[in-house]
Amino acid sequence: MAILVLAEHNNAALAAATLNTVSAAQQIGGDIHVLVAGAGCAAVATAAAQVAGVAKVLVADHAAYANQLPENLALLIAELGKNYSHVLAAATTNGKNVLPRVAALLDVDQISEIVKVIDADTFQRPIYAGNAIATVQSSAAVKVISVRGTGFDAVAASGGSASIEAIASVTDAGISAFVGEEVAKSERPELTSAKVIVSGGRGMQNGDNFQLLYGVADKLGAAVGASRAAVDAGFVPNDMQVGQTGKIVAPQLYIAVGISGAIQHLAGMKDSKVIVAINKDEEAPIFQVADYGLVGDLFEAVPELEAQL
């Protein structure tokens, strides 16, 4: 039994989410092969070969895979995947985009966003915005699974010495093309991999006031997130959204500022190790999940916090 893990990367560096996915693969058990599909992605393959627990790295280096277009990538993964017991990818926007396409090509059901491996066929995944946990069992010939990173501790990025094998065949569906990308350039860590996150909600009142949070975040080396209410109100862009319909995070420390704690937000952050809530409404539901709650005006508390860090 061997497991194929799709590497998450940008052609230059291997994304941390891959390490969590390999961790899930280790719990399933079996030889772990990592597929690096991209263009000019040799450095990623080298990095993947050093990941602890990886037996083999397959590299498909071709322009057709440069931007991870699912129409091209899914054909490749499905062709390779039929020889594996499991095909895994991180539940990132990229993994979510391509993996169901792979499953359909293999004519198997997919299991999305597992947070726990019970055995090689049985997994746990949250449903209803995390308000229920389903234990599901698959009898599919190839089990196609997306992995929620926060459910699995990352394996070490070094220590492995996998062989690297090039894949010659190229699959280009020719029905889609990459036009462009606007990726926010930031010195701050990515939300899904940050150890500390400072998030703002509707209580921030406007986008400019998020500067207060950036001040605290920079002192803590933290990422800045937002609730759906803040996104819907137009304070900040959607890629900052933490919650059921945004990013699922589980940092060491999560500081919720001016966030009431709607179910849909809690679903995205309640697995954080330590939760701090700052809110002027002491009845706010966020306090029911917070380890440390501070009832008060955020416009006084946040600058004070920044000063004391």
Binding site: A74, P100, I111, Y128, A132, A140, L220, Q308
Partner: protein, 249 residues
């Protein structure tokens, strides 16, 4: 162009669901049901394309029990032209749903199919991508902007860290993200008119589709509860606790 929109009947997003004591699922008895929020955005986008003169017809399809007619009528009231219900009382997984939708696509021959990116009950985020694979169509998932340009579709997608734009050959599949549009409310005259719009009912058997699944739900349980901690009196106390008690800063 003809647009097909798929919608799902789910628990209303304001309802806090409860897990059944026997672990067989969540309790849906007497719970308010509604159209999945991402599906509402899909209907709205199709109707806007029709209002712009780009779409000629908007057909809305749902797969579910006869009660899903309610959500189809809602979509008709929002501006869809006609509806198809693939009636099944089974709990179908995304692959089965995608296969049924593929059969509807074969029959209707739409140029564009719009779906929500995920349903807020099962949270799978699979059906649109699977349908695209089965049809051999290109896909623009998690769309925040859709623009028809001749025989091509430009879709701006919400990705980790920002936005990506792709150009897709039509016919194509789009799945909606939150910022694509703000759905309208149905007006009373439109709700009345929707009652007279055509709604066909077909069965999976009539479409010749097998809905067998390889995934079995063994149990459904409530997540581990997180208990409330303590209230601190000042920022200084908070910083002290984070440093010395929680040791996270």
């Amino acid at each position: 162009m003809k647009i097909l929109v798929a919608v799902k009947r789910v628990v209303d997003y304001n309802v806090k669901v409860r897990v059944k004591a026997d672990g067989s699922g969540v309790d849906l008895a007497n719970v308010k049901m509604a159209m999945n929020p991402f599906c509402e955005i899909a209907v709205e986008e199709a109707v806007r394309l029709k209002e712009k003169g780009i779409a000629s017809e908007v057909v809305v399809v749902s797969i579910g029990s006869s009660a899903a007619q309610e959500q189809l009528r809602t979509a008709l009231a929002l501006g869809a032209d006609r509806a198809v219900l693939v009636e099944s009382n089974d709990e179908l997984g995304p692959l089965a749903v995608a296969k049924l939708l593929k059969a509807v696509v074969d029959k209707e021959q739409p140029q564009l199919v719009i779906l929500g990116k995920q349903a807020i009950d099962s949270d799978n985020n699979q059906t649109g991508q699977m349908l695209a694979a089965l049809c051999g169509f290109a896909q623009g998932t998690f769309a925040s902007r859709v623009e028809v340009a001749g025989d091509q579709l430009n879709v701006t997608r919400e990705i980790d860290g920002g936005l990506q734009t792709v150009a897709l050959k039509l016919p194509a599949i789009v799945t909606t993200d939150l910022r694509l549009n703000e759905p309208r409310y149905a007006s009373l005259p439109n709700i009345m008119k929707a009652k007279k719009k055509p709604l066909d009912v077909v069965t999976p058997d009539a479409l010749g589709v097998s809905t067998a699944s390889t995934v079995k739900v063994l149990k459904v349980e409530a997540p581990a509860a997180r208990s409330a901690g303590i209230k601190v009196g000042s920022v200084a106390e908070l910083v002290e606790k984070l440093k010395n008690e929680a040791k996270v800063i």
